[in-house]
């Protein structure tokens, strides 16, 4: 730690669509780029690649995105971007010095420009039985099917909100699983209201329509205005129940509909991974349309910390098309900083990227309205439902702390250990903030967020002991 950390032009953290696009654009303009990702393969979740040891991807149904991603990955490699894979960024110090851990060593690198593309993860929603083996997230199910061609189960209930549910059901049916039902929390009423705004995006609409038709043809009930109510079982999932919900996605009391399933897949949208942008000291704001915090950014994707850019789903989940453009924009901005792109050429490239982002934003706004997150979902947890999966703290224990005067997530953490575990509060943080807001009658923003501390992810002590430069 005594010698100064070695310096590189540009470090990109995250090898999904946003990070790959950023690395490509910056490298194309002659910027020296180091790209770091936690996975063994580039691609992130959306462009998830099959393991290198698999000789071929077989049929194309599950491979469309990985083929598209594969082309981008090849380009990034051929541009000479330095890769650091299977490596966890566990800390950011002095704004732009990243601490990277591999299995048995850590090192620090100072970036002149730092592009964060950490992605997002499925919004964790506590409900009775959500910790049972056999309950998994939509993203986890996708990875299993896309990345390894393995089905998560044989008889599956899919519950959540958004177009990803249709994609998951499509993959399940393709793989030969039985889908008991697809439960969409949004009521999906008066879809015609969106027709004129969707016209420029017909390709997306058609894709969604095709999935809906396939699900109907397979005889799978598509239940709108319904939420998961509970997963049943003692050693693992042996059944599940759903309930109708109101427009706030709170379950309506009354009879529940049960399904004989061995697997429950839940996907209520995404929350951005903000640990790194917080550790870098970036300012964040509450984005009501997404029901979550996002970093404050300039139009060039620069955060409030000079030289630190945040792109893709990690800056507000908006999907891969937006992620690619944001990554490209940040790549342009970095090339501009290094004097590799200037004057009219720079202005034209930036203005084109901005035009495409504006076009995509129109589609995003419709999706955000149609599937607007309903915080009533957080009333699914019953008193003895686990809120913090790591430290095994129940909703009742957290509420007890609130009753005794805690009004901020960090206070409940100190009193109950909620959020103190290995996931660093990623699983319980959003739910806890909503639980506090409901109990105190104050806005969810008042409940705040857990203070992030390095290591952002668990790092073996052996690796820390071997810190080198």
């Amino acid at each position: 730690m005594s010698a100064p950390a070695p310096s590189v032009d540009c470090v990109v953290v995250g090898g999904g669509p946003a990070g790959l696009a950023a690395a490509r654009t910056a490298a194309r303009h002659g910027v020296r780029v180091l790209l770091i990702d936690e996975n063994a393969e580039l691609g992130g979740q959306y462009y998830r690649q099959m393991p290198a040891a698999f000789p071929s991807a077989g049929d194309g149904v599950l491979g469309r995105e990985s083929v598209e991603g594969g082309r981008l990955i090849d380009e990034v490699r051929s541009l000479g971007v330095e890769l650091c894979l299977g490596a966890v960024v566990w800390g950011i110090f002095d704004q732009r010095t990243v601490a990277v851990a591999t299995r048995d060593a850590t090192r620090r690198i100072t970036a002149q420009a730092l592009i964060l593309a950490p992605g997002a993860y499925d919004r964790p929603v506590p409900f009775p039985g959500w910790t049972l083996p056999g309950v998994l997230t939509a993203g986890g199910a996708q990875n299993l099917m896309k990345g390894y061609r393995v089905l998560p189960g044989r008889r599956v209930l899919v519950a959540g909100s958004g177009p990803l549910l249709l994609v998951v059901a499509h993959y399940l049916l393709h793989g030969g699983a039985r889908v008991a039902a697809v439960c969409e929390a949004s009521a999906m009423r008066q879809l015609w209201r969106y027709a004129h705004r969707m016209l420029p995006h017909l390709n997306f609409v058609q894709q969604g329509y095709r999935y809906r038709q396939e699900i109907e043809a397979a005889g799978v009930p598509f239940l709108t205005g319904h939420v998961i109510r509970r997963a049943l079982g003692s050693a693992e999932v042996t059944g599940a129940a759903v309930a109708p919900c109101d427009d706030d996605w709170a379950p309506i009391r009354g009879p529940e509909q049960s399904f004989d399933v061995d697997t429950v897949i839940v996907g209520y949208g995404f929350v951005s991974s903000l640990e790194l942008s917080r550790l870098a000291g970036c300012e964040h704001r509450w984005e009501a349309a997404l029901g979550g915090w996002v970093p404050v950014r300039s139009r060039e994707m620069e955060s409030t910390v000079p030289g630190v850019f945040v792109v893709g789903d990690g800056a507000g989940a908006a999907g891969s098309a937006v992620a690619l453009e944001e990554g490209h924009m940040a790549g342009l901005a970095v090339a501009g900083r290094f004097g590799r792109l200037a004057g009219r050429e720079y202005a034209r490239a930036v203005s084109r990227a901005r035009g495409r982002l504006l076009h995509l934003a129109g589609f995003r706004r419709v999706m955000d309205e149609l599937y607007r997150f309903g915080p009533g979902l957080y009333t699914l947890a019953e008193r003895d439902t686990t809120l913090c999966r790591c430290e095994e703290v129940t909703a009742a224990e957290a509420l007890e702390a609130v009753r005794e005067g805690a009004t901020h997530v960090n206070e409940v953490k100190a009193w109950t250990r909620v959020g103190m575990g290995r996931c660093q509060g990623r699983m319980c943080g959003p739910a806890l903030a909503h639980l506090i807001a409901r109990a105190t009658g104050r806005p969810v923003t008042d409940a705040g967020v857990f203070t992030p501390r390095p290591p952002a992810k668990p790092v073996p002590l052996a690796a820390l002991a071997q810190e080198s430069h």
């Binding site: 393991p51 071929s56 991807a57 049972l132 083996p133 390894y148 393995v150 996931c423 992810k457």
Partner: protein, 105 residues
């Protein structure tokens, strides 16, 4: 436990087969698979029992975030099954609580 192999048969050519040990029993997997993928393909959902209440847990987020699919791998506790590739002869154990440091033979 679900029965049989959950690998989608026509959907991919897989890596060569290898044998690993799960709680002392042999399990066939394919090179390139994660520990979690190999276990789930065989219908095994359980990865650990929790420290406080002894609840069963398994694969949840599938992308290295939730820290729920922790297992003891070659004597090293708290290894994420979803992020760790299989290897010939790998010893994987269902973890109890916070796990114990095993002796690697």
């Amino acid at each position: 436990m679900t029965q049989g192999d959950l690998r989608m048969t026509a959907a991919a050519e897989r890596g060569r087969t290898l044998t690993m040990l799960v709680d002392g029993g042999e399990l066939t997997a394919h090179e390139g698979e994660s520990i979690a993928a190999a276990l789930l393909a065989a219908g095994r959902r359980l990865t650990r029992w929790t420290a406080r209440t002894g609840e069963p847990r398994g694969y949840f987020c599938g992308m290295g975030v939730c820290q729920d699919c922790l297992m003891t791998v070659d004597g090293l506790p708290n290894v994420r099954a979803c992020m760790t590739p299989v290897r010939e002869g790998l010893r994987v154990e269902t973890q109890r609580g916070l796990g114990e440091w095993g002796v690697v033979p």
